[in-house]
């Protein structure tokens, strides 16, 4: 899923302050899962903003809505009428949802309330970790199901750099070395020899480096 984190309250207050009517639009999918932008977080943020504006005696009216998947245009329609009556939208979706909202309401200022961070998973209670960088040409079959692009700090393809230490990355004690994990898993499977083969340099044109990407589904396209 897409992992995101709420922006600091002060930053959000500063963005909402110039308006009289602001709607906070949540998203019930990924960002709800990581407790950043679901219905509950919309409620909490709305309450925080009301209190803050009350204290500052700035008359900003806050309303709330929550969309099943803000990144899907049809789903935004469920709240379209309410949103159209507002002066600004504070979106608690990931960056895709925020942009979808901006596209749907070209005349409304739309602000991100979250920082979209990565594609990852819930690895432990209250902990999320990056798992995929969307490189567009997956090599997980070669690397024991552990992504060297997203999980190695240097995106190395042919084994650990000289900085690996006790299974940790040279970048920080908090980061497991992806290559230490790959080597460990393949050793357990008795397949370490598989890594003798040189994995050729990645052609990054399938990744972001090729420019914004587009996908047209051959069979499903009209």
């Amino acid at each position: 899923m897409i992992v995101a984190q709420r922006k600091p309250l002060d930053e959000i207050i500063a963005k909402a302050e110039p308006f009289k009517k602001v709607v906070i639009a949540g998203c019930e999918t990924c960002v709800a899962e990581c407790h950043a932008g679901g219905k509950k977080e919309v409620e909490i943020l709305a309450a925080q903003l009301r209190i803050a504006f009350n204290r500052k005696m700035v008359p900003v009216e806050i309303s709330e809505c929550s969309i099943e998947r803000q990144c899907e245009p049809e789903m935004i329609e469920s709240c379209a009428e309410q949103i159209a009556a507002e002066e600004a939208v504070l979106s608690l979706a990931c960056g895709v949802g925020v942009q979808q909202m901006a596209e749907r309401f070209p005349n409304l200022p739309v602000f991100p309330g979250l920082n979209t961070t990565f594609m990852g998973t819930h690895s432990a209670p209250a902990k999320w970790e990056e798992r995929c960088a969307g490189c567009g040409n997956c090599v997980l079959d070669l690397t024991a199901g552990i992504c060297p692009i997203a999980r190695c700090s240097k995106s190395l393809l042919n084994g650990p750099c000289g900085g690996a230490h006790d299974g940790k990355c040279e970048v920080s004690e908090e980061i497991p070395c992806a290559w230490a994990e790959i080597v460990e898993r393949l050793t357990k499977q008795g397949k370490l020899g598989q890594l003798r083969q040189i994995i050729p340099a990645k052609e990054w044109d399938t990744a972001r480096d090729g420019g914004p990407r587009k996908l047209i589904h051959g069979e499903a396209a009209p």
């Binding site: 042919n158 650990p160 900085g163 690996a164 230490h165 040279e170 080597v183 003798r196 340099a201």
Partner: protein, 313 residues
Amino acid sequence: MKSGSRLEQLLSRGEFVVTAEMGPPMSADAGAIMKKTDFLRGTADAFNITDNQTAVVRMSSLAASVLCLQAGLEPVMQMVCRDRNRIAMQSDILGAVALGIRNCLCLSGDHQSFGRAGKLLGHPGAKNVYDLDSINQVRMLRQLRDEHKFMGGDPVKGEVPLFIGAAWTPLGDPVEFRVIRLGKKIAAGADFIQTQGIYDVERFAEIMQKARAEGLPEKAAILAGIIIPRSAGMLKYMNNHVPGVVVPEKLIRRMSEAKDQKAEGIAIAVELIRDIRKIEGIRGVHVQPVEWESAMPAISEQAGLLPRPEAAG
């Protein structure tokens, strides 16, 4: 000859070679390079010029290598994958060769958030590149030289004479993979290998045995890394914080008991060179003075490495 470099000539003649490391200044001061070359002249056969090591901005390795050449010393230009994509790397290589550089050492490079050194600020917020890993970097340079082709397939006119090096951390984690990784670097085209600093000669000898079992020392010249220790504190620090550097406890004790730690450091480096030299398959040493270039003459002298042999020129 692949490059005709002095390093290559001496190795192919079977000489026990010496390389020494030299860090460019954090300034545009050519004089700083000249000062170091004065200390280093005659102490080794070729001199590694580091490439923004620990991700701190320094004079470019290419420029400092040219200054080194002008001072009459042969450089080994280091090139890290952190800061350049394949286009910039190949372009820099063409320029380097045109300016007379013949040796290049391929490295991943320390990550820009490298915080362990701790003394300098660096640029932890920089966008890194890592377009290639060091193994594909070696392969790219070999293709330029031997197949006269850029990585993308376009032809390269004329020769790109280069002696291609790679680094090896034999005692780094996960240690079971290190010989495999060395084999990959050599298969990719590395002509010579310089290792991370070795203090635990016994363990290194064991790993070298594994490397020999794979036939690796015959395919590339392995130069063992020697980091000149200055103090017991430095040894402790390296043992705890520098990945792949393992310092035996008795060496740390010996250093802390020494009256003159600097003199002891030189003595230790000299002994390491003598012991490591006996390991089958070691073709030379790569000495890292770490900002203590003035120690090099004493080390080369006491280790019986002087005078350095002449190359054809």
